[in-house]
Symmetry: C2
Subunit: 136 residues, 2 copies
DNA sequence: GTAGCTGCAAACTCTTTGCAACTCT
DNA sequence: AGAGTTGCAAAGAGTTTGCAGCTAC
């Protein structure tokens, strides 16, 4: 049983066929798929799955903090199975998403919130960039 | 003539009645209104304005970089007339938006992008927090 | 005069929901 | 057995668009 399945069971969710399929897709996705893409991947395994179930499942998982919903500058949401904390750099030319993590940044964010009189609960940081030409 | 009107004219846009009204609303708004809110404010001045025009105008202004479109964690967009560069801290209890600006953060972002092999074109940073209790 | 702009309503995209049937525990 | 889950289709929210008439230049 996968990590995700285990956590869902612990949360008291029934492990139905469609649910398992979607969890498997998420567990095997190293990228940041949209609902539509999760749906496509799930259908490849079990073609009877409906997109309504994908929406419902992703919403549940988001509430359980088992996935993270991203809204990059697009008209739809993308999801990612929760792993270690990190941020994203989106390649403006290819749409590719690069993950990164930076300790100084983490500290700075907390400090900024504190100075404004707030406890930092959550945050978003996305960089949008263009690949640097390397020397010829 | 306002700053926004001037810049629109320079871009070759006609200064029609509805346009002027919307620009005035944006210029006078110190907050981050949604399309719906811009529409309400504009209607208070000229009740014949249609929401389609508000959408069209905000899209144009966004492309001209005269306003910034924000998608905080909500199902709709909010806009803000462009001023100096800054970021936002959103109060999770009240929805209040606090603006801030931090030099160390600016430098750090550029450095991070560079280290990943990218030229930083744009970025988003939002902090979500809860107001700290002050000492009694 | 005419290119650009407008209001209106219809269309579109993404997401949610009511419901009857089904399924895990 | 029964609560939770599903697929379907319809509805909802937010946004865009085609069109005929209007307006700034």
């Amino acid at each position: 049983m996968t990590e995700l399945e285990l956590r869902c069971q612990q949360a008291g969710l029934k492990m139905t066929g469609p649910r398992k399929t979607i969890l498997r897709v998420l567990g095997e996705s190293a990228d940041h798929p949209s609902v539509e893409v999760v749906y496509e991947r799930a259908k490849a395994i079990d073609s009877s799955i409906s997109i309504a179930t994908v929406y419902r499942t992703l919403n549940m998982l988001d509430e359980l903090d088992l996935v993270t919903r991203h809204e990059f500058n697009e008209t739809f949401s993308r999801y990612e199975a929760n792993q270690e904390h990190h941020h994203h750099l989106i390649d403006l030319e290819t749409g590719k998403v690069v993950e990164f993590q930076n300790e100084a940044l983490e500290k700075l964010k907390i400090k900024i919130a504190e100075e404004l009189g707030y406890e930092l609960i959550d945050h978003r940081l996305e960089l949008y960039g263009r690949k640097l030409k390397t020397k010829k």
